[in-house]
Amino acid sequence: MKPCLDIRRLSAVLPNGQRVLRSVSLSVQPGEVRALVGESGAGKTMIGKAVLGVLPKSVRIVEGEMLIEGDDLGRLDAKARRTLIGARTALIPQDPLTALNPSRRIGAQMTDRLVRILGWSGERADKRIRQLLDEVQIRDPERVLKSYPHELSGGMRQRVLIAAAFAAEPRLIVADEPTTALDVTVQKQILRLIAQLQRDHGTAILFVTHDLGVVAKISQKVSVLYAGKMVEEAETAQLFAAPQHPYTQALIAATPRYTDPYTSLKPVDESVLAGLKAEIAAADKDWRPGHG
């Protein structure tokens, strides 16, 4: 079976030549949740943006391919690429407030996409949106559809965005730390909802997080990223049971457990980081786009 998303040796650089992605390879099978973990600044968001075609202007892809269901994004012209991304992917963003247009009602924003992009009738789109709002357990769709984003709580906004992401039946959803901006109490509910809808709809998800606890709960496979470099990838259970790379081991050791939250909380070991940095510096020295 063709992978839903296939990233092959993707490298991206900043204008000053600094690499933000270092020959990243990663694939997500249909219906699978692939977690992408790493510290802040590792480049997790960059990978998501690269897939969705919204990299910042300053970031340039210098090598590698990205395929969505076998279609190479690099071979398509800009318009065809936009259409393909719009039809087959969706984003569940980190900050549900800024991801909604403050001056438009929720209902209009949600149906708009189905009507304008997928060409559905207004009636069909409306029905679909209500169905999805029900799936994300919004009990008063009438009120929510008429609201402006700031009139809803953070949890409600994120539910709306989850519903919107699944509404168009994308094959792939990129979820970029979808619970980080929320209250701890709401985080769990949202996570459970995403997992539930993912199962029901069979959508593949690239799930970006820096929280190994979340990884354990939601994903079947994990990729560990450090400074734009893929350090390790494995089945989730496998990764926790027998982490191969010292960085992964340190990362797991650094994650607090609920049973013993204080004693197991320690920073990632300095010597491990030093080793990784040396490895990356050495690789950068020899690296040329196209030969890396």
Partner: protein, 282 residues
């Protein structure tokens, strides 16, 4: 708390006050021939420099007194309002359309479009506006349309600067990125997603600009560069009032009050409208 909804504020008192004055002045101007108690051009030397109604020597029917040619001041103010409002609406709307469109393009698209537009704005703003206006009218010739044109040509930059900054900050918001991912085109996003968010500012600026246009028109007619007919304008009444300040203070004071009230109302009305329409401030 989770389900709490922020209550909508009602219309604020300043919206009522400012809007009320503007509506009154506008209606009076539109229906001037019906509501003005006298013919604004009729001179009567027997009635020169009559004081306003509460002073000794006032005549009934001449509520705010008369000028040194015996013309009724209230009627002249009402007719003067016609030109003030025509200039306010026409000039401010033109400046708004040009400036907001360019500002939106510069702010949303950035890049070379922004560089060109911003440079033009910088150069434009290097001219002192009043001098610029006088110069323009001198070139274009006096008359209603050249006054309107001059104000629009000078003041579009006010809109452009503010709207550019707002569009720029909106363009960085995640909802714009989401719209890109969904597959909307650039222009569609600019008009459907970004424009509604800068609209409250456009409205506020538009109202403010109407006030500014009223002042500029008054200044131009004060220096005799505006409408070259005998039609009364607030500026020309003020200019005449200045000459007879010691014999008939009211000829200067009433048009000044009218002018100030109108200008203040325009700016307050704009601010209040903005607060009312902004979904986040509301």
């Amino acid at each position: 708390m989770d389900e709490a909804r922020i209550p909508r504020r009602g219309l604020s008192p300043r919206l009522w006050l400012a809007g009320g004055w503007l509506l009154l002045a506008l209606l009076a101007a539109i229906f001037a021939p019906m509501v003005a108690p006298q013919d604004p051009l009729a001179q009567d030397l027997m009635l020169e420099r009559l004081p306003p109604f509460w002073l000794d020597g006032a005549e009934p029917g001449y509520w705010l007194g008369t000028d040194s040619l015996g013309r009724d001041l209230l009627s002249r103010l009402i007719f003067g309002g016609r030109i003030a409002f025509i200039v306010a609406f026409a000039a401010a709307t033109s400046a708004c359309l040009i400036g907001s469109a360019l500002g939106l393009i510069a702010g949303y698209f950035g890049g070379w479009a922004d560089r060109i537009i911003s440079r033009v704005v910088d150069v434009w703003m290097a001219f002192p506006p009043v001098l610029f206006a006088i110069l323009l009218v001198a070139v274009l010739g006096t008359g209603l349309s050249s006054v309107i044109l001059a104000i629009a040509i000078i003041d579009w930059t006010r809109f452009c600067r503010v709207i550019r900054a707002e569009a720029m900050s909106q363009a960085r918001m995640d909802y714009v990125e989401s719209a890109r991912i969904a597959g909307y085109g650039r222009i569609g996003i600019m008009l459907r997603e970004v424009l509604p968010n800068v609209l409250p500012s456009v409205v506020a600026l538009l109202s403010l600009e109407m006030g500014i246009a009223v002042i500029v028109e008054a200044i131009l007619s004060f220096v005799n560069l505006s409408i070259s007919t005998d039609d009364p304008t607030w500026g020309s009444i003020i200019a005449e009032g200045r000459l007879s300040i010691h014999q008939a203070w009211w000829v200067l004071v009433f048009p000044l009050i009218t002018l100030i009230l109108t200008v203040l109302s325009f700016s307050q009305f704009g601010e209040a409208l903005k607060a009312h329409f902004d979904p986040v401030l509301r």
